[in-house]
């Protein structure tokens, strides 16, 4: 007979209890008052969004849990989560929701709130900086490829200033400035 290891510590439960003193009851209103949040409270936790999500299996918080966390007021956990930034924005969750909760759009709103507090992953901030500095995400490097195909050498019709001047006065400009 093999000896079973002596167990110490707290019993294994599905999730840790929620510390209710840390909940922010206003968080759900912040989200539901945004243009995509009207149907937020219609969520009945059926988990269809999670079933539709191609990457939920590797997340600590799955889509239906994130929506529940918003409703409960777990502001810090949601806005500091890696999950909102790893969302593929494939809209499978939103498309399947039987309650018309705009799940993907709500995650976009969460990312905006996180950004407002200064939490943006380094490489996403770098893309914002590229937009402010270069006015585009991709530049033509091999212009001979374009000329071989009888296309004009530069990106056609692109106004670099068009996006630069706008983003300098919106949140992107502030984030890029703060990051320098």
């Amino acid at each position: 007979m093999t000896e079973t290891e002596e167990k110490t510590g707290p019993p294994v439960t599905l999730i840790d209890p929620i510390d209710m003193t840390k909940l922010d009851p206003k968080f759900r209103n912040d989200i539901s008052s945004m243009p995509n949040g009207e149907e937020l409270s219609a969520c009945f936790a059926c988990s269809t969004c999670t079933a539709a999500c191609p990457i939920a299996n590797q997340w600590d918080y799955m889509p239906h849990q994130l929506i529940r966390m918003i409703l409960l007021g777990m502001r810090d956990e949601v806005l500091s989560s890696k999950e909102i930034w790893e969302c593929l924005t494939c809209f499978q969750c939103q498309e399947r929701c039987p309650q018309k909760v705009r799940v993907t759009d709500i995650f976009f709103d969460c990312k905006n709130l996180a950004a407002e507090e200064g939490h943006v992953p380094e490489n996403v901030l770098a893309l914002g900086k590229t937009l402010v500095d270069k006015g585009q995400l991709y530049e033509v490097i091999n212009d001979w490829e374009r000329e071989d195909l009888d296309l004009e050498p530069e990106v056609p019709g692109l106004s670099i200033e068009g996006i630069q001047s706008i983003l300098k006065s919106t949140r992107t400009g502030k984030l890029v400035e703060d990051g320098e």
């Binding site: 243009p35 191609p54 990457i55 590797q58 890696k82 930034w85 790893e86 593929l88 924005t89 494939c90 809209f91 499978q92 939103q94 498309e95 705009r102 993907t104 976009f108 709103d109 990312k111 905006n112 950004a115 943006v120 992953p121 490489n123 996403v124 901030l125 770098a126 893309l127 914002g128 937009l131 006015g135 585009q136 995400l137 991709y138 530049e139 033509v140 490097i141 490829e145 374009r146 071989d148 195909l149 009888d150 296309l151 530069e154 990106v155 056609p156 019709g157 692109l158 106004s159 670099i160 068009g162 996006i163 706008i166 983003l167 919106t170 949140r171 992107t172 984030l175």
Partner: protein, 288 residues
């Protein structure tokens, strides 16, 4: 002849001039008049929406407002640009408060968003305005028997209330070339391109799962209508040899390249040598 305002974005001209060239060749043959929009800005991609929704709304509202002056619908070959522009059009049409704020800013630039034109993917414009029967008439070298897996791309299809693009559109367009559309289980799944900046390993796994699903179902090559999806499925195949020890050899063609070949155009005209995975299977078929 239908006239359109063509929004190129930055990714197609910079990374896929072969897509741009093939689109023009096909559009010309179909009698579509594509005019580059001038003085328009990069759409910013979903990454801009993530950190700065207001900036993203304003940049894309500006593009739509510029196009409204000519009165022609915007068409674009990029799912990312399509997703951004179409989503902003939908948002501002449905949220009057945001529209007011955006128009205050646009007025300073001498512009106004009215919502008087539509934003469309170039493939949908070909399908709706030219029609399958007209397209079929121009197919001189049908691709009979070649199995093609379609990767639609998330921002082309979803959310449907925003994109208004049914998958049958692209399916019928591929059918029109005489090729056989291969059904595969992961046809709706994301290619992984959007998650590249924050989790590269995850992005690679998603591309790999997709390619495997296509190959297992018997696809000979893949068609896409987006530079980001094209990049993921084409370029990542080279890396998968090292990371997963798997070789897929699935050429990835932009849809207008396939239609151009079926119309009898040659491979140089559509820049087929720029596609990373060599397109030999389809060329062998056409010459055989």
């Amino acid at each position: 002849m239908p006239v359109y305002s063509l929004y190129m974005g930055c990714s197609v001209p910079a990374n896929y001039p072969n897509y741009e060239a093939a689109m023009f060749k096909v559009a010309e043959a179909l009698g579509m008049n594509l005019n580059y929009l001038e003085d328009v800005a990069c759409c910013g991609s979903p990454n801009l929406r993530s950190i700065d929704t207001f900036g993203w709304l304003l940049v894309n509202a500006r593009t739509i407002a510029i196009a409204e002056k000519s009165g022609h619908d915007i068409v674009t070959p990029c799912n990312g640009c399509f997703g951004s522009l179409k989503d902003v059009l939908h948002h501002l049409t449905h949220h009057k408060d945001d529209l007011k704020k955006i128009n205050v800013e646009l007025k300073k630039m001498g512009l106004e968003f009215k919502g008087s034109i539509n934003v469309r993917h170039i493939i949908e414009a070909m399908y709706t305005d030219i029609g399958i029967e007209e397209i079929k008439k121009r197919v001189t070298k049908p691709l009979d028997g070649v199995g093609i897996a379609i990767h639609y791309g998330c921002h082309l299809l979803r959310p449907l209330d925003v994109t208004e693009f049914r998958p049958e559109i692209l399916q019928e367009m591929v059918d029109a070339t005489g090729a056989t559309v291969i059904d595969y289980p992961l046809w709706k799944q994301c290619c992984g391109a959007t998650v590249l900046p924050v989790n590269e390993q995850l992005a690679i796994r998603l591309a790999r799962d997709k390619l495997k699903s296509m190959k297992d179902a018997g696809a000979v090559f893949i068609t896409v209508v987006c530079p980001a999806c094209g990049n993921q499925l084409d370029l990542q195949q080279l890396g998968l040899k090292d990371s997963y020890g798997e070789v897929y050899d699935l050429p990835v063609l932009l849809y207008p390249q396939i239609l151009a070949l079926a119309m009898g155009m040659n491979e140089e005209e559509i820049g087929l040598s720029m596609n990373r995975v060599p397109a030999d299977p389809i060329l062998d078929h056409l010459s055989g």
